[in-house]
């Protein structure tokens, strides 16, 4: 069974640009979560989608947004990139509401120059 996949593995952007990160959950999983792992800040929760709806978001500005598609894959968009957005972005999936175990993908390394 395929795990969570993410693309691209690496992304280089310049300040002010937009970045789009993609995630495909494990087959049968309906919930997708996004986390940011930045140096010095640890792992922080960004967004949670379930059945196409945004269920919860962390303490991040509105320029961090996303969506979940009918096939449960998800996209994270970061607008007006800032240098401090450079981080590893991890996607996780679970079976859905009240299914507590999250399984992670390999991450996308975003570098903002």
């Amino acid at each position: 069974e395929a795990g969570v996949t993410q693309s691209p593995t690496h992304l280089i952007k310049t300040r002010g640009q937009q970045a789009t990160l993609r995630c495909s959950p494990i087959s049968g999983h309906t919930s997708v979560y996004w986390y940011q792992q930045a140096l010095g800040l640890g792992l922080q929760f960004l967004l949670w989608y379930d059945e196409g709806e945004e269920r919860n978001r962390g303490n991040f500005p509105p320029r961090f947004s996303g969506r979940q598609f009918p096939n449960y894959s998800s996209e994270l968009n970061v607008n007006a990139l800032e240098l401090e957005d450079s981080a590893l972005y991890l996607c996780a999936s679970s079976l859905g509401l009240f299914q507590e175990t999250q399984y992670f993908g390999p991450g996308t390394r975003l570098l903002v120059l």
């Binding site: 919930s31 640890g42 949670w48 919860n56 507590e100 175990t101 999250q102 992670f104 390394r109």
Partner: protein, 114 residues
């Protein structure tokens, strides 16, 4: 709000020996889950073990076991017969039932000495 504290930034252990990683947490929730994840240099976060707070029995997965002390809000991970492949960053994480948001500790970097 929940907090998770890992007080050991780095640990090392001789191959085949046993090591224990510490984790404490603070919460007012009564129904929650605790996890240990490992993150090797490849960056992929891998689930090691999970514990439901309502279960008194400590979780075990092969060489990995936990010591869950609910009253003390402590959740340590014991790795027996350490192997070179165990070298990684280990994260303790908390999830309140119905919240679906993992709160992570700052991690412990484990080095295995051959």
């Amino acid at each position: 709000a929940q907090t998770v504290t890992q007080s050991q930034p780095e640990m090392s252990v001789q191959e085949a020996e046993t090591v224990t990683l510490s984790c404490t947490y603070d919460t007012s929730e009564s129904d929650y889950y605790l996890f240990w994840y490992k993150q090797p240099p490849s960056r992929q976060m891998i689930l090691v073990i999970r514990q439901e707070a309502y279960k008194q029995q400590n979780a075990t997965e092969n060489r990995f076991s936990v010591n869950f002390q609910k009253a003390a809000k402590s959740f340590s991970l014991k790795i027996s017969d350490s192997q070179l492949g165990d070298a990684a960053m280990y994260f303790c994480a908390f999830l309140a039932f119905g919240n679906e948001k993992l709160t992570f500790g700052t991690g412990t970097r484990l080095t295995i000495i051959p």
